[in-house]
Symmetry: C2
Subunit: 292 residues, 2 copies
């Protein structure tokens, strides 16, 4: 087996984007990051995005509205960013504190600035094999990890565990697309799947995105499979200073010896998400300037 | 085995819609049918839709622009129908004669009148489990055939042969939805699938939509499976007056004895498509009147 090093691949992409942005004439791409409230994870995610943007030469505009703002005020804020020609991409950091609801915002951000790829139009374009839209960052990152690890899905059986809107379904649609690197036969499993191990054992490529710590064990994996672990779960661990450790949806100790390639957690899919957000922002800038 | 009688189920739905439309106050639902050119199949399809609309009490407005009209003239025509408050649903009959291109029209018809369910927004809504949109007619008809035959997909393995935008992908997304009747584990196969029979033999429900006459043979089907045949292929047959016979994607003689339930061709999925178009039109009317 060998590890797929998400940190290294993400760094390569960041370096590529940096060179691309440096060569751009005029105004550089600009990403608006909207964070409401002070959820510690949100603070840390936004900071990481800000930092990577700066590294690439993308202008980060961090917007921290008061936590008291109403849903309609938040919508007005987004409308303003939609209309602002100096803003290419808009990201509203999840989770929003109650009573804000993220779901309605999927369609509030203009599809042309929806660098998170959550808008109905962008998911529809993905389903229609139309690459003029934005693919959400985690699924795009998974495809990039695979292609940069020379894993061609053509003729392969790809089994996706989980059918979420932001990972399971879009990555299934990507793997199914009729294009180089994709063209997989795709099975989507979930909590209601019967005899799951019999299905996962057929996977040439297994993508675990169900949010259950160490759910996929060695007996569920075919020898030689490629295993992508999308999960990031906190598991109580008294031996750690923080009181928890991070674990994926894959039980690494039993799966790793059987897999041909496997992503670690952390350091696998995670770092790719930010890199793909930056790629989407650069693409949004190109679209706004008629270069795509 | 037993036949799933698409004609009978479609008739039931038509009768239900007729009662529903009769009870509607004011202006009845109106479906605009745009046909360009005189492709014999198009003529026959539009006539069937007209006839069913009349039976239900839906106003059919058949529009036959000259075959010489340009792409932009066709777009102007659609824009006019989009803006017309007396029109609830718009269907542009495929295929269009060259140089018309159907693909761009997917997004020209207003999503609110897109009773064919081909618009990017409507496919996106389907992927997002948002039932405020329109599901394309053939996939919707397949789900209706299954539910009216008491086939619950929960816990079942649904194998879809074909990944087209109008059948394979949307029916896969429908079968996967987290809702009553659906909740299936879904595999999508296609021309690039390796060892296809090994996968189709796992299907509790097999949906064949690949457009290859009699492609699915008995050895590819598990005993007791439910088989839905979406194909309508013309095969040369000198013994027939027309010089051809219609056949599905399923080799009926060898599959029928193994299947618990099977749709015939013709008389299976086909009749459902028109019934679902009418249901979408009635839904569009309800949406326009704030009743949905």
């Amino acid at each position: 087996m060998a590890l797929i090093d998400g940190n290294r691949i993400a760094e390569t992409i960041v370096a590529e984007l940096k060179a691309e942005v440096a060569a751009l004439p005029g105004r550089k791409p600009c990403l608006a990051l909207v964070r409401v409230g002070d959820d510690p994870a949100s603070i840390s995610y936004v900071r990481k995005k800000e930092k990577t943007a700066a590294e690439i030469g993308v202008t980060g505009r961090v917007i921290l509205p008061p936590v008291t703002l109403s849903q309609s005020e938040l919508e007005t804020l987004i409308d303003g960013l939609n209309a602002d020609p100096a803003v290419d991409g808009i990201l509203v950091q999840s989770p929003l504190p109650p009573p804000q609801r993220t779901s309605g915002l999927f369609r509030r951000v203009s599809p042309n600035k929806d660098v998170d790829g959550f808008h109905t139009v962008n998911l529809g374009k993905l389903a229609q094999d139309d690459d003029s839209g934005f693919v959400s960052c985690t699924p795009a990152g998974i495809m990039e990890l695979l292609s940069r690890s020379s894993v061609d899905l053509a003729g392969k059986h790809v089994v996706v565990l989980g059918r979420s809107l932001i990972v399971g379904k879009p990555v299934a649609l990507l793997a199914l697309q009729k294009r180089a690197g994709a063209n997989g036969t795709v099975t989507v499993c979930h909590s209601g799947t019967r005899d799951l191990p019999a299905i996962t054992r057929q996977a040439d490529v297994l993508i675990a995105a169900i949010g259950r710590p160490e759910f996929v064990t060695g007996d569920m994996v075919k020898p030689g499979a490629v295993v992508i672990d999308v999960g990031i779960n906190r598991v109580a661990d008294a031996s750690k200073k923080a009181g928890y450790r991070l674990t994926g949806d894959v039980h690494f100790p039993s799966v790793e010896p059987k897999a041909a390639l496997i992503t670690p957690v952390p350091g696998g899919v995670g770092p790719m998400t930010v890199a793909m957000l930056m790629r989407n922002t650069v693409k949004a800038h190109a679209l706004a300037h008629g270069r795509h």
